[in-house]
Assembly symmetry: C2
Homo-oligomer: 211 residues x 2
């Protein structure tokens, strides 16, 4: 589990996983670096180098076995077990994340929402009824929930303080939907989703194209 994988390759792992899963669903059992490259918009040699670096095995003149490679990726990305998420902030973004049925299907299950001013005590989604607790009950409730991921979907001003509280409660992974730049200890994994920044980049591209 501790092979060194270059940063750029790491960022492509989810894309490999997605393509392999699609291929499997299409009934494809093996694929060459050439064909996979065409699908992913990469050269065959890039594909071989990437897969080699994350420890996937192929065979000369045969290519890669789709299901084996997909399972290998599932393993290194930890997708072979359930992750429980606690969402802090039950506004529109928090609720959209809780409601998204794709996440539990992939093993990411929302076990609770917390909100500074909850408007109800539970959220009924397609798949489950999820409790909504007042934010001040974080310390009292979180330990019993078995959550490993904290989702920050609250105003940016409260993000750092909440991240600190989550860390003290043993959470070591944060999915951050706020624009705040969190300062967290080294052993806290943080993944930012920057919706405004994404939109600003799109605007930049449009501007460059003179649109």
């Amino acid at each position: 589990m501790s092979t060194y994988v270059p940063e750029a390759v790491i960022r492509r792992l989810p894309s490999y996983y997605r393509h392999l899963r699609d291929l499997e669903q299409e009934g494809v059992q093996q694929i060459s670096s050439q064909e996979l490259g065409e699908r992913m918009g990469m050269t065959p040699s890039q594909i071989r180098q990437d897969i080699n670096s994350f420890g996937g095995a192929g065979r000369q003149g045969y290519g890669y076995q789709v299901s084996t490679l997909k399972e290998h990726l599932r393993g290194i990305m930890g997708l072979d077990r359930e992750h429980r998420m606690a969402i802090i902030g039950a506004g529109r973004i928090g609720k959209a994340v809780a409601n998204y049925t794709g996440f539990p299907r992939e093993g990411f299950r929302t076990v609770a929402l917390f909100d500074a001013e909850p408007t109800g005590s539970e959220l009924v989604t397609d798949g489950a009824t999820i409790p909504v607790y007042p934010a001040e009950e974080l310390e009292a409730r979180l330990p019993e929930l078995g959550a490993s991921i904290g989702v920050l979907a609250l105003p940016a001003g409260a993000a750092q303080d909440t991240a600190d509280r989550l860390y003290r409660l043993g959470i070591r992974a944060i999915w951050n939907f706020t624009p705040a730049d969190l300062r967290c200890p080294e052993d806290m994994a943080v993944m930012n989703v920057r919706l405004s920044e994404s939109l600003h980049l799109l605007s930049y591209m449009m501007n460059q194209m003179g649109k």
Copy 2:
């Protein structure tokens, strides 16, 4: 508008903009590359190189004028004018985007939603009442809406076809919330928001840390 800016710097533009906006709100009028670097987790020389490459001007021993630099970024990112968005898919993600008050505040205004099976004829948000049209009316409705951005918030299977329809209708910018890899003409700007991939990367990081 056509200076060459390296890809990596482009990706940092929204972050520069956000920090400068925050600084302005805090009443800071000028800032050195040292101080800005500390805020952004970069070295002063990286900061100077970046800002130089996107045409921002500083002064030796003085630094950068916050508002001037911010306005410069607003200009190159096209944030000094209104962008109208049409959202295709009025499910939870489409509605969350339409409801997010931060976007209109930044000049990105949702003018309509389209859905294959609309459950209502309008969406009432904090700031506006937005019409929801059946997806088959895209060709009939879109031209009169003055939209420049198409937001894809529908099932992945319908994404490519919808992107093609949007292109034929003159849309040249797509904000893609689906996992589909769109194949679009060169003069179509596409920005992908990959929520599942982001979560998979977080899971990878957790797995590497042995959590």
